[in-house]
Homo-oligomer: 574 residues x 2
């Protein structure tokens, strides 16, 4: 086992079991084969086991293949402590069991392939925003303790005159110590398992944040995989540059596919590497012309108390195309996912009265796309985006119905229903502008008349962040009743909804789906209550809901029916 | 770094960087701290760097915390080669960059937690059959070279009088050499990456199997994760017992959560372990009373040329409940997934003419559930199950339409449509007996009159094995046309379908979904052709399909309409 990049390569040992004598336990000896050739080695073995020179024996690997020149050389070059048998014949039965030392280190594809089959999406390219979301999640966690503005700056450097294409995510969060940076690279080391790690400066036991409205708690790290999956889904190399408060040094770590392949080829330890500790602003180690954009990024370190900059390179070509061509699409998807982080708990309500309120968020998620001259840079703060679905729902609604669900034992879900009235000649329930045009032409006429159509009512947020592939279609108490309904049936298709769950509901590692949210919510133990001005109501939710819907219909729906055609009038007086 | 279970614990070294002098590059020294206490160590450092006794200096970790007694002891006990700084003051700027050695081994949760958030399913417990499927996949691959019967024997040992609950999967496949067994335990080592590994007896380059009808090629291993994910989703410990052809020894390897935790606690190498090589039938190492069922399993080894037995223990209690209570449900689901493996390429056609044909499969997948007396054992061969959906579709159909799709560059999809005619007074399209009763009460009347309803047409098989969460709703050419249809609209809801893809279509690691099957099939480059008696037809698929549907309708639909009520007659003559 060579620890320091191959400096300690001479001490290859093998384990030899003497299995010749039946009825006698196999004895085990370690033999150092550092600079022996195969003949020397056979001699050493003969001596070691005191084999008379006229005795015949055979030396095999554990798959009973005789040790020949090639096999011996391979073992000598290898990293493993090989086990060999000393036998009377190749197919002799073992007199007693032998123990063969093995290593079963996860292959490095664990890191570099992980995202590939995780961010699958039947829509193909649509998966990329979800990889970006993992990096935004990390930046949100890191900036959760900030007192001032929380800045998350995503830059797509696709300007070849600056070097090869790169995706850079910079945040002004707490940064990482060298130990924490080391831990960042450890696949599946989550904040929960980390508590029991012995790495000194990262000893911090995980403290679950206090409950906050709608669970917008920035506590979105869970599995210890997201960052790695995302990076290697986006590209082939990640350079993490970070500085924590109170330490004068910047820590830098590169993990890349290329490095893994190099280490494998040279039989070096796959998961060993170096963190570079250096002074702020020092980019003297950047010598590659392809990465010259790093000088600028490193210059920006000056004067910052703490920060983290993640630089992804080796970007997949199809991603570059998508990121450029569908800029609006994917930035809108991100604005949707983080809607309540960037707009505050009331969301992006564009009415004057709300905009001046103090619920405004201090989270700036800024995305810029830099291409080669003469293309002009594109830049957007997610907060400026007004076409994401949540913004549409909020601003097309005229009344809301808030509720809360308690799920055994400590799951809490806050919910909102929004009423989109019928106005004059049309439904105001917003259309899904991002949706792929419906492919099933055989839609039933009946459904076309309904505002929401077949769409589920609820989108679902976990710790404030959208889990995009899970929706909840409805609850008992807000579905059209089988018997007498208090309002016309169409009204039941005039509301949209949102659910906000706390961390007691499990999501899949790629954060694309909940494990069993709907199942839990529909359990008999689950208890719903209406919330009015923050107060839980004593009356049953069904009754409250019916009441609300009736009021909405009577007060808000304004149906104008032109009955019977009377002929045309030409008004010459206007 | 201690290789052999802590035998080599004395040589802990630290790296000290002398960073005191600005303008001079930091110099690096290795110091062996084996049996030094902190004061000895400080002395050694002073000497090593020739520090005059009246000079003040401070020794810190890289997070600039002064090395005190506790930190020193922790480093001494640790596994890592810690990096220390020799500084003038704790916040001195580094004169030059330092390189800190780190290891970033994936956490063992990579193996034991992987399945947990992979086999998620909105239906909750329904995920367990998919974990079993991974183990069946492996057994199918292993037995693909068998000349005689291929036996896959799944035993649920839930009889406490035999020991603790266990799930045992035994196959009579090729088995594994010790090296292959070692590789089994390596997370993410796939058959593709394995080719480049240097482990001698597992050198075999992957050879892609020749095309076979419907891609029933038993080549269902892809990512190097399935077996591990499945085992640790089912339980907490896996014992793999295997014997390859031509080697007289049995190889045995245990990986378990408990062992990982023990190694972590004792700071041993997490991914090091031992394979036990022993003679056939020797269970002398099994001493735990809880595992006494192992004696019986090991006795069965006698006389077998090769085999693999996987024993999972530490079974989750909720899984035990599910496996017992829903025995019929999950065995039916497995019969569905492997339908074409267990029944042959024509599937489970129960008409006499087919049953005597030579297309019968030699794959026996047998499941037995053993509970404590007086409960009687349950046992089923998946081939006996006649209620799985594929069996229902096949036997309720009166005609079929076969086709093939070529997807750029070498994706091939074979497809079948089956016509389920209207007979006398009802549709014969089979109902989904496994389906959860529809929850949306607001189904449109129109749909209720249709045989298939909202269900998608196609179920999708990959290398012959069902990918359960991906369906394809329809293709252009088999959807009801917008203009004049050649047959009544209802006919378009009277067919079910199956797609068989080859390995050129990607599936997610949990094999629950295709990545982009539908997208690829609907690409403009994709070319469809009808197959009649194995021959591709020259005419366009649309025309062929219309023709087929018309014939089906005219020949097979037998609609009896009672028109106008004429009054009742009581027949006294019968
Ligand atoms: N921008 C950042 N600033 C500070 N620390 C970070 C940042 N990004 C990652 N980290 C650290 O690295 C760790 C690993 O990140 P990663 O995203 O891989 O997993 P995770 O966030 O812990 O879990 P999940 O799988 O849910 O994303 C984080 O827990 C955090 O401690
Ligand atoms: N029953 C078995 N008989 C023989 N070899 C087996 C058996 N089960 C597993 N193996 C070996 O162990 C390897 C790892 O199995 P595992 O299921 O973890 O991954 P995989 O099958 O390679 O890929 P996937 O993630 O697609 O399942 C297999 O490739 C195969 O070589
Ligand atoms: Mg994360
Ligand atoms: Mg497998």
């Amino acid at each position: 086992k060579n620890v320091d990049n191959g400096t300690d390569k001479t001490h290859q040992t093998v384990v030899v079991y003497d299995c010749r004598i039946d009825g006698k336990d196999a004895t085990e000896r370690f033999v150092d084969i550092g600079d022996l050739d195969i003949n020397d080695f056979l001699e050493v073995v003969s001596k070691e086991f005191a084999i008379p020179s006229n005795d015949t024996f055979v030396l095999t690997t554990t798959d009973r293949k005789e040790l020949d020149f090639d096999r011996y050389e391979e073992i000598k070059k290898g990293n493993d402590k090989e086990t060999l048998y000393l036998l009377q014949s190749e197919d002799q039965i073992l007199p007693s069991a032998t123990l063969e030392r093995i290593n079963f280190l996860p292959h490095y594809d664990t890191l570099i392939q992980s995202g590939m089959y995780e961010y699958y999406a039947s829509e193909g390219q649509k998966a990329l925003p979800y990889a970006f979301a993992e990096l935004i999640d990390n930046a949100l966690s890191a900036t959760s303790g900030n007192t001032g503005v929380r800045m998350i700056d995503i830059r797509l450097l696709f300007n070849e005159s600056l070097g090869k294409p790169a995706v850079v995510i910079i945040d002004n969060g707490c940064g990482m110590t060298a130990k924490q940076l080391n831990n960042w690279a450890v696949y599946r080391l989550s904040k929960f398992t980390r508590a029991s790690s012995t790495l000194s400066s990262d000893h911090a036991e995980y403290v679950r944040p206090d409950p906050v409205p709608r669970s917008i708690n920035s506590d979105i790290s869970f599995f210890g995989v997201g960052g790695k999956q995302a990076v290697f889904y986006i590209g082939q190399s990640a350079r993490m540059i970070t500085k924590p408060v109170g330490i004068p040094d910047v820590h830098e770590l590169v993990i890349s596919k290329e490095e893994f392949e190099r280490k494998e080829k040279n039989k070096e330890d796959i998961y060993a590497g170096f963190i570079r500790n250096r002074k702020v602003g020092d980019s003297s180690h950047v010598t590659s012309d392809e990465e010259r954009f790093l000088h600028g990024i490193i210059q920006e370190e000056l004067g910052k108390q703490s920060f983290t900059a993640l630089v992804v390179t080796g970007i997949r070509q199809d991603h570059i195309v998508f990121l450029k061509q569908d800029f609006q699409l994917w930035t809108r998807e991100l604005a949707h996912m983080y809607h309540y982080y960037i707009h505050g708990i009331h969301g992006n309500n564009m009415k004057e009265s709300y905009r001046s309120s103090d619920c405004v968020s201090n989270i700036d998620i800024q995305i810029s796309l830099l291409e080669k001259f003469p293309k002009i840079p594109r830049m957007v703060n997610l907060r400026q985006i007004a076409e994401d679905m949540q913004t549409l729902y909020i601003n097309a609604s005229s009344d809301t119905f808030e509720f809360k669900a308690y799920v055994d034992p400590d799951g809490i879900v806050e919910g909102i229903l929004r009423y989109h009235p019928f106005l004059y000649d049309k439904e105001t329930y917003p259309e899904d502008r991002c949706a792929i045009p419906a492919s099933d032409e055989d839609d039933d006429g009946a459904v076309h008349n309904q505002a929401r159509g077949k769409r589920p009512i609820f989108e679902c947020f976990w710790n404030g962040r959208l889990i995009p592939y899970t929706t909840v279609s409805e609850f008992d108490w807000c579905s059209p009743p089988k018997k007498a309904a208090p309002v016309p049936m169409e009204c039941y298709s005039r509301f949209s909804g949102v659910l906000f769950t706390n961390d007691r509901f499990q999501v899949s590692t790629n954060k694309l789906t909940f494990m069993d949210l709907e199942l839990q919510l529909k359990s008999k133990e689950t208890f719903f209550t209406r919330i009015v001005n923050g107060q839980e109501q004593r009356v049953t939710i069904q009754k409250e809901f019916n009441q609300w819907l009736k009021t909405c219909h009577e007060k808000l729906d304004k149906q104008v029916n032109f009955k019977g055609f009377k002929g045309m009038i030409t008004r010459t007086d206007v």
